[in-house]
Amino acid sequence: MDKTLFWKKNSTIISRYLIVVILFILISVLRPGFASGTHIRVLLAEAAIIGCAAIGQTLVIITGGIDMSVPWIFNAAAMAAFTFSNIYSGAGLIVALIGIILAGFLLGLLNGVGVTCLGIPSIVMTLGMNTILQGVVTGLTSGSIVGYAPEILNFLATGTVGGISVALLFWLMLIAVTMLLLRKTSYGRALYALGNNRVVANFSGIRVKKTEAIAYGISGMSAAMAGLMLLGRTGSAYLGMGNEFQFESIAAVALGGVSMSGGSGSYLGTVAGALTIAVLLSILTALNLSQAMQQVLYGIVLFVAVLAATLQNARNKSSKL
């Protein structure tokens, strides 16, 4: 490929990684200890969960939709795993965990069917699904459940192999799979095409509805996986544990330079977005601000970032026209 073309195509993503690095260096200078090995490991594990939850969100946003149901699919998965750990053990537990991830896929698929076949705007469909799950989970658990986090999830979230955390390795694997899916399969190609222009995609013989619905399914699946990871890290499941991830998963995608109107962007960008958020969060925690102040600052920073990303996208588009 042409070298200038390469830079042009990837400038957005590269600039996102630069932001992460600059932010990180700046903080490490100001606050020694920030750059210590353990802290970086914690940071990456945090980013891995956000990044995992944002896999499906990236896909859905590429189709031009949005998935607001991440938090309660996330929460439901964690709660389910927490409860199942009482009942099953060993291989049975692993099957149960896989079952949970599949259930996440099916819930997401339900979103997808509502959006594609019934024509419900994605924001409404997923918001509705989120509320339904909130009600069901609250109702079924009556607020308190007992159990423990399965060891395999503990290992996944906090374990290390040769000094490298398992969460990071797992995330790297997910990154590879997602990038292959988006860049190297006909599914990925179809996804970008329909995000840009549904009619053209349909007139090119792409099964638009199926492709789109599966994106929501993957989003449900990745939300469930992220839920399991967080369960592994915190060691317990509680109501509302996924709430932050509604905002964070969307923000990671937006910070990563994926256009909110669909059709462009890459998961690598989202990865940078997830890293930025993780760094940002730990800065805010380190500053010892109140919860409320943190939320305000966090919100404002992300607002500005999202706006900047949109502007950059708009400029890129018009300069290419």
């Binding site: 006909s186 053209v200 349909n202 090119s204 013989g205 099964r207 059709g263 290419k320």
Partner: protein
């Protein structure tokens, strides 16, 4: 100095000069014809004039006063009314609400429906319109009437300059007469009329002055009598084209590729025909008589009752994917909206309809992809630096070729072509016609709809003319003339 002048207008989109030092002038009472190929800059000139786009350089003067035109609203206040090529009506409102949408009044002033209807009726009376009910919703009107409403909307208020940008494309012949009467009347009142049409005949019959655009600039301003049709075409093209159409190949064979029986849905009222191998079957008629419906049904994009047999086997086309699999491909009418993913690269567009063919295992093979793309680019002579550039940067003709390449790569036996030559320069047209013949000589078939009757007559083995959702006449041999196509399309019998 002329009453109305556009001086040295330049406008760039990215690196493309849409207008380059273009001039245009007219006097009170003039009926100006504006001619040019698609992409010559006519539409951009209109957009600049009515405030949709801002010119990079140049100025516009009316009666010696500079016009600002920062928004369409300001342009209207300065006396410009435009009937746009694309309708700008609101479908969920009634005709009368649409007519007075642009009205300048205080935002809090109430207007009852009754008041609006009364005004609309007065307007209809003034301009002799009898066939439109002003209380009807626009979404319930047929296209021809919508276009009429669009014209009336422009006439509802005071103006100095009226621009008609392809305003006749959907009108019936009777309505075109009505419009011409009106234009003459307005010109007598001292208005400036700018008339844009791709039908030379219309320009010849109504305009007194003609300005011809080519490559974003005006190349000729003349009185109508000073130019004949050949000269006009030459000026538009900038070169002489000899042998515009290839000679007919007559490659039709007996084998039936597609057999359609009694196709019906809301728009189609019983369509039956047979398409033979090696045949180019023409579909004629005014647009909006069910042609696009027929093409979309055959491509599986819409449903219909009836029987479709492909190569003798009956099948149901539930989706475009199943149609492509069975060897039917459609070149749609609007390449920007239906044919191409504009921000994606040429390569990605070309392979979009045949992703299954460039796969290796579960992954796409970069090698297979670039090979297929290279083959198609060479075959169709698509002019592009590399296949990696965004398709939006290509010229109109080349974009249309990419659409063709995309559908041809899927190797269809039956190609449905819906008005593929619209907005394509003559050189490209010729290449496309040659390609169509090549395609048929390989024993494949083409169903060809065109709004240009000349094309149909020169390219097709036989022609069906559509009227109100069915085939009104089958023209073959000597009866295949432009005159007959038009006669049948307006409801007369062929001679």
């Amino acid at each position: 100095m002329a009453d109305f002048e556009m001086r040295q207008i330049s406008k760039k989109f990215g690196n493309v000069h849409a207008l380059e030092k273009a001039n245009f002038s007219a006097n009170k009472g003039d009926i100006m014809g504006l001619l040019g190929e698609n992409g010559a800059g006519k539409s951009t000139l209109v957009k600049v004039l009515c405030g949709v786009e801002k010119e990079d350089e140049g100025e516009v003067l009316l009666f010696g006063k500079k016009m600002l035109r920062r928004t369409p609203k300001e342009a209207m206040a300065e006396g410009v009314r435009v009937v746009h090529q694309e309708l700008s009506l609101v479908s969920n409102a009634t005709v009368s609400e649409n007519l007075f949408m642009t009205e300048e009044e205080k935002p809090y002033r109430r207007k009852t429906i009754k008041e609006l209807n009364k005004k609309a009726e007065a307007l209809f009376k003034k301009f002799g319109v009898e066939d439109i009910d002003c209380t009807q919703y626009v979404r319930e009107l047929p296209l021809a009437k919508c276009q009429k409403v669009e014209i009336l909307k422009a006439l509802a208020f005071e103006f100095d300059i009226l621009v008609l940008d392809e305003a006749t494309s959907a009108l019936t012949e009777k309505d075109v007469e009505w419009l011409f009467e009106l234009i003459r009347k307005l010109s007598k009142e001292g208005k400036i009329i700018i008339f844009i049409s791709h039908r030379l005949q219309e320009i010849n019959s109504i305009c007194e002055q003609i300005t011809i655009f080519r490559n974003g600039t005006s190349v000729c301003e003349a009185k109508k009598d000073e130019l004949d049709t050949d000269q006009m075409v030459t000026l538009m093209l900038g070169r002489k084209i000899a042998g515009y159409y290839p000679e007919k190949a007559h490659s039709r064979k007996e084998e039936v590729l597609l057999h359609v029986e009694n196709l019906r849905n809301g728009e189609l009222t019983g369509v039956s025909f047979e398409l033979h191998a090696g045949e180019i079957l023409g579909i004629g008629g005014l647009s909006g008589q069910g042609q696009s419906e027929l093409f979309e049904v055959l491509y599986g994009a819409k449903g219909a009752e009836g029987k479709i047999e492909i190569k003798g086997k009956e099948c149901r086309l539930r989706s475009t994917a199943s149609a492509l699999k069975r060897g039917i491909a459609l070149i749609p009418e609007d390449r920007g909206k239906q044919g191409l993913v504009l921000p994606m690269s040429v390569k990605e567009n070309i392979t979009l309809a045949s992703l299954g063919k460039i796969r290796k295992g579960i992954f796409l093979s970069a090698l297979k992809e670039s090979q297929s793309v290279k083959k198609m680019i060479e075959k169709l002579q698509i002019k592009t630096d590399t296949p990696e550039v965004q398709v939006v940067t290509l010229s109109g003709g080349n974009q249309q070729k990419v659409v063709l390449a995309k559908q041809l790569l899927a190797e269809p036996d039956i190609l449905l072509m819906y008005d593929i030559t619209r907005g394509v320069d003559v050189g490209t047209k010729r290449e496309m016609f040659n390609l169509m013949q090549e395609h048929c000589q390989e024993g494949k078939a083409i169903l060809f709809f065109s709004t240009d009757t000349e094309e149909l007559v020169h390219m097709c083995d036989s022609i069906y003319v559509m009227f109100e959702g069915r085939f009104k006449a089958h023209l073959q041999g000597d009866s295949m003339t432009e005159e007959n196509i038009i006669r049948v399309s307006v409801g007369e019998a062929a001679v």
